[in-house]
C-alpha cells in the first residue's frame, strides 16, 4: 500500500472513513476540527455513506453517537479539551451501558487559564470513566489504533478513546500508510451486534434501567473485570493488525506487545516511562545511550503489568503531560501502584503543560536528575 505524506488529522479522517462508520456526530473544537471537517467533506462529496449529524454541543455529539450505537450502528465522534469535559457524563454512560463507541481525543490542556495547546489533562479527566484509552506516538500509530479500536470495541462492548497529541500529531505532516477499506475488512468485520443487545423492535429490550445497590456494584465490577480481561486481546489485535498492515518503523524497537513498547538496552540503569508523541523525542535523545531505555505506554486503560521491564533498572523516570494537582501525575500513580515492590528511585516529571515545548534538552535534564525521587515540573 502506498505511503502518503499527510496531516495527522487527514490520515485519521481517511482511516475512519475507510472503516465505514454508520453514524458520525461531532462539535467543533480546536485542535480536533480538521478531522471532523474532512469527514463532513467526504460525506458532502458523496464519498461516504455515514449519517453526519451536527451537534449543538459535545454533550449532544456524544449522546447522538451513544443513541446510534444503542440502535446497533457503528459510530464515531472526536473531541478535545473542554469538549471532552462537557462529554464526560455521557462517557460514563457509554461504558456503563456497554456501548462500543470509538472516539478520537486530540489531546489539549484544560482551562483556566484558557490555552489551546497540547497536554494530557483532558484525557486524564476521563481516566475513571471505564473506557479503553490508547495513546498514539505518531501518525501511523494513530491510524493503526483507530482500526484496532473498532475491532476491540465491537468485540468487547467497551468504548475506546484513541488519544493523539493535539497539533503535534493533528496538525503536522508525516509519512503514513492509510489502509483502504479492503485491507481493513480483512481485520474488521461489519458490525452485527447480537440479537437482544440493541434497540430492536424484533427483540425488544430495556437498556439503561434503574439499578438498585444489590445490582449496581455487580455491573461496575463486571466493567472492571472486562477491561482487565481485554489486555491480552489488545495485544493480540495489535499483532494481528501489524501483520496485515506492515509499516516501516523509524527507530529500533526491542519489544512491542501492543500494550507497551520498549526501546533501549536490555538492562537499562534508567528506565523512562512515557506516553504519546514525546516518545519520539525521547527515542531520539537516548538513541546512543547505553544506560537509558524507554518504555512507552500505549494502553493507559486497561493499564498493563510493567514488572518485567523494571526488575533490573535502578531508576525510573516517569515523564508525563498531566498533573493531578495536590498529588502527582496520573501516570506516576499508575506506575507506582503497578510496581509496589520496586526498590529503586522513581521520579515524576511533569512536562509540556499547555503546549510547553518538550525538547531533547528537557529529556537530557530529566535523565540527569533521575537519581532524585519526587514530582518535578519542567
Amino acid at each position: 500500500m502506498k505511503i502518503s505524506f499527510l496531516e495527522g488529522s487527514r490520515a485519521i479522517a481517511q482511516t475512519v472513513a475507510n472503516i465505514k462508520p454508520e453514524v458520525v456526530s461531532a462539535y467543533p473544537i480546536t485542535p480536533q476540527t480538521h478531522i471532523v471537517e474532512d469527514l463532513a467533506r467526504f460525506k458532502a462529496e458523496g464519498k461516504a455513506d455515514y449519517e453526519y449529524l451536527l451537534a449543538e454541543s459535545e454533550a449532544a455529539a456524544a449522546s447522538i453517537v451513544l443513541g446510534a450505537s444503542a440502535a446497533g450502528a457503528r459510530v464515531y465522534t472526536a473531541t478535545s479539551s473542554q469538549g471532552l469535559l462537557l462529554m464526560l457524563e455521557v462517557l460514563y454512560n457509554a461504558s456503563g451501558l456497554r456501548l462500543p463507541l470509538v472516539m478520537t481525543v486530540a489531546n489539549r490542556a484544560v482551562g483556566a487559564p484558557i490555552n489551546i495547546w497540547n497536554d494530557h489533562s483532558d484525557a486524564m479527566a476521563m481516566r475513571d470513566a471505564g473506557w479503553v484509552m490508547l495513546f498514539a506516538e505518531n501518525h501511523q500509530e494513530a491510524v493503526d489504533l483507530h482500526v484496532i479500536a473498532y475491532r476491540l470495541a465491537e468485540s468487547t462492548n467497551l468504548p475506546v478513546a484513541v488519544n493523539v497529541d493535539g497539533f503535534i500529531l493533528t496538525h503536522s505532516h508525516e509519512n503514513v500508510i492509510v489502509p483502504d477499506n479492503k485491507t481493513i475488512k480483512k481485520f474488521l468485520p461489519d458490525y452485527r451486534p447480537a440479537a437482544g443487545t440493541f434497540l430492536d423492535p424484533q427483540n425488544p429490550s430495556t437498556i439503561g434501567g434503574f439499578f438498585t445497590p444489590e445490582h449496581f456494584w455487580l455491573e461496575r465490577q463486571r466493567l472492571d473485570t472486562d477491561l482487565k480481561k481485554s489486555l491480552p486481546l489488545i495485544s493480540n489485535l495489535y499483532k494481528q493488525w501489524k501483520k496485515i498492515l506492515r509499516t516501516p518503523t523509524p527507530s529500533k524497537i526491542n519489544f512491542d506487545n501492543g500494550l507497551v513498547e520498549y526501546c533501549g538496552p536490555s538492562h537499562p540503569e534508567t528506565l523512562i516511562i512515557a506516553m504519546g508523541s514525546m516518545a519520539g523525542t525521547i527515542k531520539e535523545t537516548i538513541r546512543d545511550n547505553k544506560n537509558v531505555g524507554l518504555l512507552k505506554i500505549r494502553s493507559f486503560r486497561p493499564f498493563p503489568d510493567l514488572r518485567k521491564f523494571t526488575s533490573t533498572c535502578k531508576r525510573i523516570a516517569v515523564i508525563e503531560k498531566a498533573m493531578s494537582s495536590g498529588a502527582s501525575g496520573p501516570l506516576f500513580a499508575e506506575v507506582g501502584s503497578s510496581l509496589s515492590n520496586y526498590k529503586g528511585v522513581i521520579s515524576d516529571n511533569i512536562v509540556g503543560l499547555g503546549g510547553r515545548d518538550v525538547s531533547l534538552q528537557t529529556i537530557k535534564h530529566i535523565i540527569k536528575s533521575s537519581g532524585k525521587a519526587g514530582v518535578k515540573f519542567w
Binding site: V23, E51, E56, A68, A73, N203
Partner: protein, 283 residues
C-alpha cells in the same frame, strides 16, 4: 379504544393515581410495535425499569437526564442508515425539557430529525422531591419555592413553534383519546413533533390519589392549560371549542395544596392569565 398493544404493562411502582403514568398509557395506545422509546431520567424511567424488571414491551432506552433528544436523534440516524422506518418516541418530564435538556431539544428541532418528543409536564422536578422547574407556574409552592414560585412558566409551545416544528400540541392526562389522537398525528409528520401533556403529580400538587384526572380536567375547563394543536405553525380549532364555557380558575386552584396559600390578588392574577388564554387561543 385499542388497548391490545399494552406497551406499558401494569406492575410499575409509580404513586397510586399518578397522572404521568396515566398519560403515558394514552401515548402508548398510539404506538405500534415498530417503535423505539427513549426516556429521560425521571419518574417514568425510575418507576418502570427497576432492574431486572421492566414494564416496557417496546425497545426502550434511558441514558441521562438532559440528553434524551440527542439520543433519539442518534437512534433515528442509525435506523435511517440501516434503511428502517422504525419510529422513535422520546419521553421526558418538564425538568428535562424546559431546563436541563432545552439545548438538546433545540438541537433536535434544528436538525429536523423525524422523532416525536413527549413532555409530561408535572410542573416541577417530581422525582427528586418537587423542586421548582422552568415549568412551575407562578404562585405554586414547591420544596425550593416554599413561599410560592415567582417566575412565569416558560412557553415551550412557542419555543417549539419558533424552531419551525410542524406539529406542536398540548393536552392533559384527563383526555386519553385526545392524547392518543395527537400522538398518532405527530407520528405522521415528517420531522420533529412536540407534544406537551399536563400530568398531575399526587405528592407534588398535594392532591388525593383519586384527583389527578379531576385536576387535569379542571386545568382545561378553567382555560389554565387548554388543549391545543398547531399544524405547520397554525393554531387549529380547539377540540372542545363548541361547548366550552370557562370555569373560574379558583375551582382548579383550590383542589391543590400547592396553591393553598394564595391571596385573593394572586388568584385574580392567575384568572387574568386564563382569560388571556381564552383570547389568544380562541377557546
Amino acid at each position: 379504544m385499542n388497548t391490545s398493544h399494552n406497551n406499558l404493562t401494569p406492575g410499575h411502582n409509580a404513586c397510586a393515581g399518578c397522572g404521568q403514568l396515566s398519560a403515558a398509557q394514552s401515548v402508548m395506545r398510539a404506538l405500534d410495535n415498530d417503535t423505539i422509546l427513549v426516556s429521560a431520567t425521571g419518574c417514568l424511567e425510575v418507576t418502570t425499569t427497576a432492574h431486572p424488571q421492566s414494564a416496557w414491551r417496546l425497545p426502550w432506552m434511558h441514558s441521562l437526564f438532559e440528553n434524551s433528544a440527542a439520543v433519539g436523534s442518534g437512534i433515528k440516524a442509525a435506523l435511517k442508515n440501516k434503511k428502517k422506518n422504525t419510529k422513535v418516541v422520546i419521553q421526558a418530564g418538564d425538568g428535562a425539557t424546559y431546563d436541563i435538556g432545552i439545548g438538546f431539544l433545540s438541537g433536535l428541532f434544528e436538525r429536523g430529525d423525524d422523532v416525536v418528543y413527549i413532555c409530561y409536564d408535572t410542573e416541577a422536578y417530581s422525582n427528586t422531591g418537587i423542586q421548582a422547574s422552568g415549568s412551575t407556574p407562578a404562585g405554586a409552592k414547591t420544596t425550593t419555592t416554599p413561599g410560592g414560585a415567582n417566575e412565569i412558566k416558560k412557553d415551550m409551545l412557542a419555543i417549539a413553534l419558533a424552531h419551525g416544528v410542524k406539529y406542536v400540541a398540548q393536552s392533559t392526562a384527563a383526555f386519553p383519546d385526545d392524547i392518543t389522537a395527537k400522538v398518532k398525528k405527530a407520528l405522521q409528520v415528517e420531522g420533529p413533533a412536540y407534544i406537551q401533556i399536563l400530568s398531575p403529580c399526587i405528592p407534588g400538587w398535594k392532591i388525593q390519589t383519586n384527583e389527578a384526572i379531576k385536576a387535569a380536567r379542571l386545568a382545561v375547563a378553567t382555560a389554565s392549560y387548554p388543549l391545543l394543536e398547531y399544524t405547520n405553525g397554525r393554531l387549529n380549532n380547539s377540540s372542545i371549542k363548541d361547548s366550552f364555557r370557562a370555569q373560574k380558575v379558583e375551582d382548579y386552584l383550590q383542589l391543590q395544596g400547592r396553591f393553598s396559600h394564595l391571596s385573593r390578588k394572586q388568584i385574580a392574577n392567575i384568572q387574568s392569565q386564563a382569560d388571556k388564554n381564552i383570547k389568544i387561543y380562541k377557546l
